[in-house]
Amino acid sequence: MSPEDVRKELSEWLDANWDPNRPLIEWRNILVDGGWAAASWPEDSYGRGFDVRQMAVVNDVFSEKGIVGAAQAGPRRLAAETILAHGNTDQKKRFLRPILTGEHAWTQLFSEPGSGSDLAGASTKAELIDGKWIVNGQKVWNTSAHHADWGILVARTDWDLPKHQGLSYFLINLKQSGVEVRPLKQMNGHASFNEVFMTDAEVAAEDMLGTEGEGWAIATTTLSIERQGFARGRNQRSPREAKEGSIYVEFAEELAIANEPYSWYPQREGRPDLVMKRAMDTGAINDPVVRQEMAKLMSMSRAAQLAAKSAAAIRKAGSNEVVPAGSIGKLGASVIARQSAHVHTMISGADAMLSGSDSAEAGVIAETLVSVPAISIAGGTDEIQKNIISERVLGMPKEQRMDTGPFRDIKRN
């Protein structure tokens, strides 16, 4: 379908169906049935198989007309795309629609206190008892778990296999008595994450994604989707200007909840966008040393944008295969964030100590300085990204492993 045809068909469909006073969930069900909730998805999964160019038109039309689209905020996108890639027909049918309509919020249950960088070292245990998976263990860094309905979970189902082979991937209902969620406060004062304790929690047999032992392979898909997000930044925002209609109220409420854990995410990216303004406001723009550092920062930011575009072009030209380019982008985001924090510090001088509402940019600069350390840790540390880049992109030889053989014999925390 040509971009013009896409525009025409979508516009006509919206003219016939869009009503800003419909209840949010009802509207999104219509959107799903019309095939416009996730047009880039395959036709058998509510989509139209659109490519990047066609999707650009869809997004343009939505934003021109101020249409509320499918729910995207938060970790639900990770769940959706992973289910799309690895789920069976029944799972796609049961899980994808409520994700798109926003009825179900999701969280990611991967990291554990004892396995951070080494995700495959997870020791949360899942045992099949009387046709149900019984889960015991602790997860950590679970964004939005406090208001999530479901979780994507990696747990160990076989302790005698090597560590990557003994993991399985589950879709777990969090609204059950065996699951306890506790918030985790960070050094920047926010509490975006949680700890999740599972004590004899249950997962139905049909809620295993893929087959037993396939957990690591599937987790890799999720992680690579996540990394691309780091390089790209988050995308769902509420419409800029206030619009008439009850649906916008509902949508704003949904976003407020879903986006709350991410309110500091722009700050962890270093806020390079504020640098020029701050330099002008403070007069630091006249300091040649600051200027050099600003120029470096601006070059990096521009380069990262351009490099991401060519990486996207490569993906488009090739296949949907997940490429480690995400690791390069993520590493780049860390470098930029650190440089930006460095420049902000130079610009602010002693004022960088102040964090109140009357401080620089209403405290945003202060928050930036204590949020930046997170970007080179979350979603795989810089060190892990460099291992991935050197081994998978550059083909450098792997380091000798100390963690082969049955998992139960491996040294762990």
Binding site: A295, S299, A303, A307, S310, V393, M396, P397
Partner: protein, 363 residues
């Protein structure tokens, strides 16, 4: 946004194949020890068969009519193979100066010879540090030129000098034969012997005034040269990176390839990131020259390419260990070019300052 067309990729292959055969490290070593510093026969062949000297010169002046993108492709391959030739001096520097500053009649007269490679020209600037310093030493009184340019590339082999000198109303552009009276060319020995440098002294030399170079014209010329040079530099950086990576995969110490050590892996990953960034910006800068947009990307490209070339060169020596430090190993040829290119046409510091001023003005 940088995507090469099929034709452009084919052009790259043609240039690369030619240079791979004609500019081996052995060729480079042979030529760098000669006074001329390049192989006339090979240069002529490249001009005749590939038309390289006229890559970016419009068809009406006898060139190929390609733009900065194709020029960048050619320069990138030349940097990769460290091709010794007057290409940068004659086609890029003199060519662009004439295009930007000479009158129509003089373009008609001078460019076809440069585009065909039958004349070797070079651009005489009295400062290769920063555009605003140009014109402080070379003065024009009518058609008479006086003063010195301390660093001029390939002047020792040039037939024609294109001189930028300060006249009554700003910078004027002159052409003068290299063997004319009042022209003295002193070869300078320099760190990088694959690109020869001279000091050009003009004493009452009578030249042809071929046009005027406005401030904007000089800035544009400087940008065009910087972008071509940045391409050459990322080509060189890529070559160093590729060969170093290969070395870390085959060199065995402590019973394993040294590339399996995390210290080396992480250094290579960091370098890849820097290289990808510099490439993205440099390629984009060529597209911007075509479209007449974002002039600040030229300085961005030159600064980033300089930094990554030096970084790649440092790593290339360090990761090879002692062998990387020997004359016999080829790494130092690129290492020296990296340094020489870094300080030619403006240091990274100068370009970053220039970049910020441009962004400031735009905002």
């Amino acid at each position: 946004m940088t995507e090469y067309t099929q034709d452009q990729e084919t052009f790259r292959d043609v240039v690369a194949r030619f240079l791979q055969a004609k500019s081996t490290p052995a060729d480079v070593r042979r030529l760098m020890d000669t006074d001329e510093g390049f192989d006339r026969a090979v240069w002529q062949q490249l001009c005749r068969e590939v038309g390289l000297a006229g890559t970016h010169i419009p068809e009406e002046y006898g060139g190929f009519g390609f733009g900065p993108v194709e020029l960048g492709i050619a320069a990138e391959e030349m940097g990769r193979y460290l091709y010794c030739s007057p290409f940068l001096s004659s086609s890029v520097m003199a060519g662009y100066a004439i295009l930007n500053g000479a009158s129509e009649a003089n373009r008609q007269k001078l460019l076809p010879e440069i585009a065909s490679g039958s004349t070797i020209a070079t651009l005489v600037l009295d400062s290769v540090n920063a555009p605003e310093q140009v014109g402080r030493q070379l003065r024009a009184t009518g058609n008479e030129l006086d003063g010195a340019a301390p660093i001029v590339t390939d002047a020792h082999v040039a037939d024609l000098l294109i001189v930028v000198a300060e006249g009554k109303e700003g910078l004027d552009l002159f052409s003068i034969a290299s063997d004319a009276d009042g022209v003295a060319i002193h070869a300078q020995d320099a760190l990088d012997t694959t690109r020869k440098l001279s000091r050009v002294v003009l004493s009452g030399a009578v030249a042809d005034k071929i046009g005027h170079l406005s401030e904007a014209g000089l800035e544009k010329t400087w940008n065009q040269i910087s972008v071509a040079l940045a391409h050459e530099m990322i080509g060189g950086a890529q070559q160093l990176f590729d060969s170093t990576l290969e070395y870390t995969k085959v060199r065995v110490q402590f019973g394993r390839p040294i590339g399996s050590f995390q210290a080396l892996k992480h250094r290579c990953a960091d370098l890849l990131l820097a290289l990808e960034w510099a490439k993205a910006v440099t390629h984009h800068a060529a597209f911007c020259l075509c479209a007449g947009e974002e002039p600040e990307t030229a300085s961005m490209a030159k600064a980033m390419a300089s930094d990554v070339y030096m970084e790649a060169a440092r790593a290339a020596v360090q990761l090879r260990g002692g062998i990387g430090f020997t004359w016999e190993e080829d790494t130092h040829l690129w290492y020296k070019r990296a340094k020489a290119s870094e300080v030619f046409m403006g240091s990274p510091h100068m370009h970053r300052e220039r970049l910020l001023s441009q962004i400031e003005e735009a905002s």
